[in-house]
């Protein structure tokens, strides 16, 4: 589903990724670990093609970094759900509107949007926060709303960039368990973290260790 072929993408100041070669299959749960600045976020950004490699090729389903055009990007991103450490919720909209926006953007039929949004809010246990604005939510609730938005569009892969960075340990563990549950239903998950404690909470996973822009080990 995702292939990196001799991919290098470096920045003038620091970091990046060098000579990455790997394949991630449908249904995989992959942890990217390593210290800050090792290249974990760069690797994720390469997958959703926020940046393109200097050398090599990234392939995600039918999209290749060598051929992708600006107008293809929204369609690629509708196959990718994303979670970030800072949640990236729109502060001026309530929980329902944040989740529904992703569906409108993905061109879902209007008749299905309300139903789908309700379903996701129920599933992520934030239905009672329907009218709340993000600043009225706890960190864990914000991340669950962000997860509801990411999953609403039925992505093939879920990319999570340090999603537990702003959460306390108990909520972090709950989130990882939730991600594993989502993975069990067929969605691939790629999660960047440097918290080994939460990695051990997932029964089955692949681990990519990144150091100084290189994947030093992978399972």
């Amino acid at each position: 589903m995702i292939s990196f072929k001799d991919v290098s993408c470096t920045f003038e100041d620091r970091g990046g990724i060098k000579e990455a070669n790997f394949t991630i299959n449908a249904g995989d749960f992959v942890f990217l670990t390593g210290p800050s600045g090792a290249g974990k976020s760069t690797l994720l950004r390469l997958i959703y093609m926020d940046i393109l490699p200097d050398n090599g090729e990234v392939i995600f389903q039918q999209y290749s970094s060598k051929k992708i055009g600006r107008h293809d990007l929204p369609y690629l991103r509708r196959k990718v759900g994303m979670l970030f450490q800072d949640f990236r919720l729109l502060p001026d909209r309530n929980v329902y509107q944040n989740v529904a926006l992703g569906l409108y953007a993905a061109n879902y039929k209007a008749a299905n949007i309300k139903e789908r949004t309700e379903e996701m809010l129920e599933k992520l246990d934030v239905a009672d926060k329907w009218y709340h604005k993000p600043h009225e939510l706890s960190g864990g609730e914000k991340q669950r709303v962000a997860l509801a938005r990411a999953l609403a569009i039925e992505p093939k892969v879920l990319l999570a960039d340090e999603p537990t960075g702003n959460l306390d340990p108990r909520v972090s563990i709950e989130l990882v368990k939730l991600l594993y549950k989502i993975n069990q239903s067929g969605t691939s998950v790629i999660m960047a973290t440097h918290d080994y404690d939460i990695i051990n909470r997932v029964p089955k996973y692949r681990l990519f260790q990144i150091s100084k822009s290189k994947i030093v080990s992978s399972t």
């Binding site: 926020d50 369609y75 690629l76 991103r77 994303m82 990236r88 729109l90 953007a105 569009i153």
Partner: protein, 287 residues
């Protein structure tokens, strides 16, 4: 259709959400529209005044004193046949003597014991022909008529009117151009500031798979609405100015400001377009 409705609502809500940045944009467009509106009224009325002065231009054609009735009738018929001629007034020697009396207070027959005044025609030309080239050509043609003695018109007046009208139009166009460029730049800049304050929203929209149009349309609608609100507010302001001038200051400035539906519609179209165009320009940077 539902998506468009959603985007329209997003644009409308964007206007409310943008708060101070949106209000600032409306203020800028409002000021620009007042300047444009008042300049437009000034330009329109200046040109109308110039045209009114030009409409008072006429040509006096003096016949020979001994011209026969038949010759005068023939020339009258010739004048009637010309498309360029708008009005014709025949002044017989008796009528000329009456005019002389009205003007100078003495009867010319008492002074000279005969009437030396010839029969004449006073004609005016249609607006399109009230220029030096046409007048020169028309009068040259009339002079060829055997019973025409002399033709008089204010040649210098015509020349000066043409010269000044051209200058006035050029100055008005330059002022308009200058104001329009400054207005669009200011509007575009204030909309850029408004969008800049929400750049993270644009970034998030991109990440969740929104197309450029999906992101762009609400901002365009927002810009259009800002322009619409600003143009309505500027219309109200100009309406109040016009009412004050027409009702209270007419004794100071003898000038009546006329505002019609066409003026209001033009203001709305220009204001909304400024907001819309400013948004197109501003959002480009963020996509």
């Amino acid at each position: 259709m539902m998506v468009f409705w959603f985007l329209f609502k997003e644009g409308f809500h964007g206007l409310i959400r943008s708060k101070y940045a949106g209000a600032f944009t409306i203020l800028i467009i409002w000021i620009a529209m007042i300047i444009v509106g008042l300049s437009f009224i000034g330009a329109r009325d200046t040109l109308a005044a110039v045209n009114k002065i030009r409409s008072q231009f006429d040509i006096d054609i003096f016949m020979y004193k001994n011209a026969t009735d038949q010759e005068i009738d023939d020339f009258h018929a010739l004048l009637k046949s010309r498309d360029e001629v708008e009005t014709i007034e025949f002044i017989s020697p008796d009528m000329a003597a009456e005019l002389f009396k009205d003007e100078f207070g003495e009867d010319i027959l008492d002074v000279l014991e005969y009437n030396p005044l010839p029969p004449s025609f006073t004609i005016s030309l249609k607006l399109n022909y009230r220029n030096s080239t046409s007048v020169e050509s028309i009068t040259t043609n009339f002079r060829k008529h055997s019973s025409v003695d002399e033709i008089r018109y204010r040649k210098q007046f015509l020349y000066l009117m043409e010269k000044y009208q051209r200058s006035i139009i050029i100055v008005i166009l330059l002022i308009f151009l200058f104001l329009s460029v400054i207005s669009v730049l200011l509007i575009s800049h204030s909309i850029k500031m408004s969008i800049f304050s929400r750049r993270e929203i644009v970034e998030t929209m991109k990440l969740i798979g929104a197309t450029d149009n999906f992101i762009r349309i609400p901002f365009l609608i927002e810009g259009f609405l800002e322009g619409l609100i600003a143009s309505i507010l500027s219309m109200v302001f100009i309406f109040v100015i016009a009412k004050l001038q027409n009702n209270y200051f007419k004794t100071v400035f003898d000038y009546n400001i006329i505002l019609n539906v066409r003026f209001y519609l033009t203001m709305i179209v220009i204001g909304s377009s400024m907001g819309f165009m400013g948004s197109i320009n501003a959002i480009k940077r963020f996509l």
